[in-house]
Symmetry: none
Subunit: 413 residues, 2 copies
């Protein structure tokens, strides 16, 4: 069963609002095993909307629209879809009564145009709107189905859950569930990652494999379709472990658990505290750590040293180090980490120093970032060359530092 979602409304076309309805419906439909193959957005223009619906019927079995069921002249979705199936509209007494009742309850006066919402195409199934006034519509013609849902997200979602899912289940049967498992990696490029699992990607059927770039790192998504959730999970399991056997070093999370939460959990488990010395990240690393509720259990603090003076005074970095190697150097990073550790008497301390751009400094290239982690087992330092604009470099540097802490805590470095 191929589904096309058609979202209508000029605010979508003008980009004044982001299309969250399409994403939400797509996710729900996929969860119950329906393939959404197309999403189309069109404005409240009769000719264009009609052409869009007619074309959708040539490539999809189930068409679900959202938007354009309101009381104004601009709301034409229901009429257009009825036309396409050659159905006339007439006033539905039940709907009219429900409308009037709704207005009585809210002590609002009902204007004539509101009755447009009670105009129903012949032969339509009516979906009661429990969150608003516009009823939803189901039109069946041969093996094709058009479902009209309201545009306001809370109305659409309520109607979708209450009425659309049961309808689809009854009419088409829910013969499958689709579930995804995401493996979050850090420190390996997309192309390198693909090379390592290319054979699996080429051989993919069910489950399918997808590689995606995220600011947090590249992710591998394993998606399986099966009769039951547990069946789907058991299809995913062997593929996941095969992938893990090849790139385990780079996998830091599953299903997009944020790095800061993973680091936080490790620190809690091991009852360790952390401090930081940040230069190019300007506080971002510690801010992300403290995004996690309960971070005060393990975060002692951070010194953002944006000047040489602060590096010397607050972190005790040797003047000679800064003179000989510069602030963006392995030596400086190591001394910053050790300085932060003793200044805030934490078990572990991280230092991040680099050049976030926009221009080279100390003759050091943009994106060059040193990260050092100091702890009981001594101090380790890694060199990163990060790409992107200032904000991306800052974020990548913070992510890279978190990943180093994670590996340090796990004894991997």
């Amino acid at each position: 069963m191929i589904v096309e979602l058609i979202t209508t409304g000029s605010e979508l076309l003008l980009g004044q609002i982001v299309n969250t309805n399409a994403a939400w419906m797509a996710q729900k439909l996929n969860e119950i095993g329906f393939d959404v193959c197309y999403q189309t957005t069109v404005g409240d223009n009769r000719a264009r909307m009609e052409e869009t619906v007619r074309h959708a019927l040539t490539r999809a079995n189930i068409i679900i629209t959202s938007g354009g069921l309101g009381p104004t002249r601009g709301d034409i979705t229901k009429e257009v879809c009825a036309d396409v199936f050659g159905r006339a509209l007439s006033l539905n007494e039940e709907c009219a009564e429900r409308l009037k009742e709704n207005f009585r309850r809210r002590e609002k006066e009902m204007t004539e145009n509101n009755l447009r919402q009670a105009m129903i195409p012949e032969g339509a199934k009516i979906l009661v709107n429990h969150a608003g006034t516009a009823p939803g519509i189901v039109l069946e013609e041969g093996d094709k189905v058009i479902i009209n849902l309201p545009g306001p997200p809370h109305e659409m979602k309520d109607m979708f859950t209450r009425s659309v899912v049961p309808y689809l289940a009854e009419k088409f049967g829910l013969d499958a569930v689709i579930i995804s498992r995401v493996l979050d990696t850090y420190g390996i490029g997309e192309s390198q990652l693909e090379t390592k699992i290319q054979d699996l990607i080429l051989a993919q059927k069910n489950p399918t494999l997808a590689l995606l770039c995220r600011p947090t790192g590249n992710i591998i998504r394993i998606t399986a379709k099966a009769k039951t959730r547990s069946e789907a999970e058991s299809l995913i399991a062997p593929v996941e472990s095969e992938i893990r056997s090849r790139v385990s070093d780079f996998i830091y999370a599953v299903d997009d658990e944020p790095m800061e939460e993973i680091v936080g959990k490790l620190l809690k488990e091991k009852r360790l505290t952390i401090a930081a010395a940040e230069s190019c990240t300007g506080g971002l690393f510690t801010s992300r750590l403290t995004d996690v509720a309960g971070a005060s259990e393990y975060v002692k603090g951070s010194i953002v040293s944006y000047t040489l003076a602060v590096k010397e005074k607050a972190l005790g970095v040797k003047k000679s180090t800064l003179d000989e190697h510069g602030a963006v150097s392995e030596q400086a990073a190591r001394e910053m980490a050790e300085g932060a550790r003793s200044a805030m008497s934490s078990d572990i301390a991280v230092a991040i120093t680099g050049n976030a751009g926009p221009s080279p400094s100390e003759g050091k290239p943009i994106g060059l970032v040193y990260v050092a982690v100091a702890g009981e087992r001594g101090t380790v330092c890694e060199k990163n060359i990060l790409s992107g604009k200032r904000a991306q470099i800052k974020f990548s540097a913070s992510q890279s530092a978190m990943n180093m802490v994670r590996r340090y805590l796990l004894g991997e470095i």
Copy 2:
């Protein structure tokens, strides 16, 4: 000129990510007078993508795609569009060189599949990617144009602004312009704001007025349509000054200039340096300050004091103050600001201490945040009661602190 946007990728179809690219492009295209009449999303399926592109060509003059330009086998947008126009792809030496250089710079190993990004359809215009590796493509055929842009938002936006807008302007000319003027406010509620300008909102025609809530504060958008930019601007000017005459105290920026840039400019102008002492914001305030290129000219550093010990040791907050008033108090905020100022010998210092949640601490309610600014003119402190979840409270606290610095620098407090 009718534009159709085609966004590709299974993560969009599956609803795993919301389609922000389509909204962003639609907005930009509308601003320069192009009508986006259709937005279509299709997966990385060759047959379906090709059908979608062919159909788009029957109803639009300009087709802009985003996504599917990566190095992997799943990335097929460029090939599909080239096929539709019957163009062969071949390796473009310049693109290949740029790719290799990019990898060299990042000291990353380049795998073979990366070269797929340097395969260019014959007769294509190449759009250089300044934010990533995949070049953009422009294909012209008769009066039809297909433009392929990368999927990662920061790459797409950079390329759209640098290359697509100038290209469209030159090729099609811009017959009407729609421009918006945004007035950014802080410290005034939406309803209060509406009350102050209600008569203008009711009387609106061209320009139109819109009030929108943003995490950064409420904004007023004035949008005018005219033949020329200067005409549109002269429609906006009188409305803007009328609004300013009513709510000038709350307007801190125009056209969404970030607060951190405004504060940075003021500090530069006045040749003053700044330091911070952050508790509940965990470094976010200083991180935002340092998002601005050249921040090192005026940012000395910050001490993120997440524990009482650090507040005492690094900032010299009196133990008696913490005992009597607690860390979330006006007294602590003042001492933190003054401590940061002397510790990092800055002209101005800010302190932020509060409870970001999720649970009350020291019996202080969630959202209670004290901000103090210390400088030559003495120390001022303000109490904020902020709402929302932890992340929102952190951001609002940082925004409120920036606004206080701005007002302090302007002599308003």
